[in-house]
Every structure is written in C-alpha cells, then in structure tokens.
C-alpha cells in the first residue's frame, strides 16, 4: 500500500482517496502539475510564513489540499511531519518534499526556489528599510516591541516541542541539564551530539520495556490523527 501511494505521488497522480484521518477525499488530479505552477504556489505562500517556518503550515494546507488539490490531507500531514523531523528550516524542507512528491527532483527544485527567493528578498528589504529609517526613536521602540513578540513566539515553539520531548523524568532531567550547561556556556554542538548518544544509550539500557511503551505511544498517536502531529511545533 505504501509503495503504491508513493508511486502514485511520484507520477503526480494522487488516486488514493484514503487518508489517515479516516475521511475519504474525492479529489483526483488528472494531469501532473507544471513546474511553473508549483513554483508559483510556493512563491505566493512565502510571505505567509511571517514569524517562522511553522507559520506557513495552515496556508500550505489550504493551498495544497483545497485550492490546488494536489495532495490529500493525510499525505500532506505525513510530508509535513517528515519536514519537521529533518534538519533545516521546516518551510524549506516542506517545500522540497512536497515538490518532490508532485514532480520528482525538478518539482523539488521549483518549490525550493519558490520558497527561498522571496524570503531572502524580503529579509534584505526589511533590513535596508530598517537602515534607512533606523534612527528614529519610534522605529527603535517598535523594534524593541517586536523583539518581545519574537520572544513570545519562540517560547511558544519551545512549549510545543517540549510537550512532545518531555516524555518522562529522564527527558525532563536531560532538558534541565542541557539548560544548565548552556547557561555555563558549553557549546551547543556538543550538547546535541551528547544528547543523541545519551538518548540512544538510555533506550538501549531500558531495552524491551521501552519498545513496548513506544509502540503503545505510536498507536495512540495515530489514533489521534496525524493532522495534529506537526502542530506540535506550531
């Protein structure tokens, strides 16, 4: 079933009608989307990721599943959680993965360009704008205000990820230890590496008991619907 779905997605023909949330989708795409239309979709979406990559997800969902009908919602949720799991900007990953699903590597390139170019243009434009009028006290105050807005956004992201991350006392301890190390100016790269090692080691020590609880967790997760799993992040 998996391979059939992926094959279908590769050809750009989404004829599955069965998404993970259980609802049936009747949308059929008859011809594969063109590179230009893929790029245009992502160009259009780029400005809606104001405030971080995860902010793009609702608009992306609307564009892909409702307007263009290129993907079913289950397929999209799966792609988005993959995008969140891979390193790199989530919005960039999502565009690459969706582009690939629609039209292979060419589609990925079209979507990637569509997602990245406007972002760079807007950030440089804002930067020049800031430089141009940067010395007025009002603008300075607005910047300080929005710095706090960004703090709130990041805190919110930490909460979202933390809810998925802190599964037991061990992970809570690990988080606090890492925070203490950061405050003690330990380079973050070492923490990431040791976090992976400690996590793998801890699971290895726990052995089979973890594997059982893991599979239970997974079942719970899938019954909640995959639509919510990427929402952990925003």
């Amino acid at each position: 079933m998996n391979s059939a779905r992926i094959q279908g997605a590769k050809r750009g023909i989404y004829a599955d009608g069965k998404d993970r949330a259980g609802s049936t989708t009747s949308n059929k795409v008859h011809s594969p989307p063109t590179f230009a239309s893929i790029m245009w979709s992502f160009l259009k979406l780029a400005p809606s990721s104001f405030g971080g990559g995860y902010a793009i997800f609702p608009a992306l969902e609307k564009e892909m599943t409702e307007r263009r009908r290129w993907l079913g919602s289950g397929e999209l949720a799966e792609t988005l959680s993959l995008a969140a799991a891979a390193p790199g900007g989530v919005a960039v990953n999502a565009s690459l993965l969706i582009g690939y699903r629609l039209r292979g590597f060419g589609g990925a390139a079209a979507a990637g360009i569509g997602a990245i170019v406007p972002t760079i243009a807007i950030v440089l434009a804002l930067f020049f704008l800031y430089r141009l009028i940067g010395d007025t006290p009002k603008l300075r105050a607005a910047m300080e205000g929005s710095a706090w807005g960004i703090v709130a956004l990041i805190l919110f992201t930490a909460w979202r990820i933390g809810r998925a991350a802190i599964r037991d006392k061990f992970t809570a301890g690990l988080m606090l230890a890492a925070l203490a190390c950061l405050l003690g100016r330990v380079p973050p790269l070492y923490l990431i590496a040791s976090g992976v090692l400690i996590g793998v080691g801890a699971i290895w020590m726990k052995g089979r008991s973890y594997r059982d609880s893991e599979s239970v967790q997974e079942e719970n997760g899938s019954s909640n619907g995959d639509g919510s799993c990427y929402m952990y992040y925003i």
């Binding site: 104001f50 891979a86 790199g88 990245i116 992970t171 988080m175 606090l176």
Partner: protein, 177 residues
C-alpha cells in the same frame, strides 16, 4: 567567507526542530568571529524573526550580507539549505523504513529535550538582550505583558503569528517610544 559557508553548513546539519535552536550557536560564532556585535545581533534576530521564512536562513542572510555582501549572504544561505536538501533526499529514500519510526524515534528521544533546552536558552538570551537595552523595570513589565498576550493569541485563539508581531511592534512604538 569560506569560514562563513562552512559554519552555516555545519549548522544546517544539526538544525533539528526549526531554526530557533540555532540562535545561541549563531550568536556565539558571530560574536566570537567578530562578524557582529551583541547589539547588532539582537537587531538582526528581530529583523530575521519578523521576516517570512525560517529564522535561521534569514539570520544567515543578514550576517552574510553584513560581512561579505551579497556573496556572503549567498554563502550563508547555501550552507544552511544544502544539508536540508541532502537530508530530505536521504529521508525520501528511507521513507519506507521511516514509517516504522523505530530508529528515528530513538534518536529523537535524547535529541528533543536538548532542542527544547536550546530554544529556551534562545528565549533567555533574547530576553536578557532586550532588557539590557533599556530600563530593566519598564521593559520587564512590557515584555511579560507581550508574552502573556501573545500566549493567549497563539494558544487560545490560534491566530497566525504575524498578528502577534504586528501587535508587539505597534505596542512597542506606543509604549516604549
């Protein structure tokens, strides 16, 4: 410029969970290498956070641009995005095995708490940085108010983050200006 590219390339491989976890790393490197002062970095984070797109890519664009012009911006963005492309491609090839999620969830078990800590640390650094700019008392009250209001907007009403950014900018101009 080579150093810049390699640094962001290295970051690109470890930027799990979005770019926020990268902020402390970028700050450390940018200040140490003399690419930016602390204050300029804080401004860059604000501009990067306000702009669409991943905050790490935006930060990379700004730092690259400030240090080596357009070429620097391209180097930083290329460094950040290249690992994404490679890893996404690898994940696509592994998609069958990933379905079962057993090994990836093992990796994430230890990784996610670290990422959470990194993001919280970014909050701490940005908060301290903002407080240091003005009078502590007034900014602390303002900051906590924005965080509280932002929480209600994002969690309770599930509003798009752009409204929070607009609101905080206007509130800043009105109250702090």
């Amino acid at each position: 410029m080579w150093i810049l590219f390699l640094f962001f390339l290295r970051l690109g491989f470890v930027s799990f969970g979005g770019g926020y976890a990268l902020i402390p790393m970028i700050e450390r490197e940018a200040v140490q290498q003399g690419w930016m002062t602390q204050d300029a970095f804080l401004n860059a984070v604000t501009v990067a956070g306000m702009s669409p797109g991943p905050i790490a890519v935006n930060l990379g664009t700004l730092i690259g641009y400030r240090t080596f012009g357009i070429g620097g911006a391209a180097a930083a963005v290329g460094g950040l995005v290249l690992p994404s492309i490679i890893m996404s491609a690898a994940m696509l090839l592994l998609i069958h095995r990933l379905r079962k999620q057993s090994w990836i969830s093992r990796l994430f078990y230890g990784l996610q708490p670290i990422v959470t800590a990194l993001i919280l640390y970014a909050v701490y650094r940005l908060g301290i940085g903002s407080l240091d700019r003005g009078s502590w008392g007034g900014h602390l009250v303002f900051g906590l108010a924005i965080i509280g209001i932002g929480w209600v907007m994002l969690v309770r009403y599930r509003m798009p983050p752009v409204y929070l950014l607009l609101f905080s900018a206007i509130a800043g101009a009105a109250v702090l200006g």
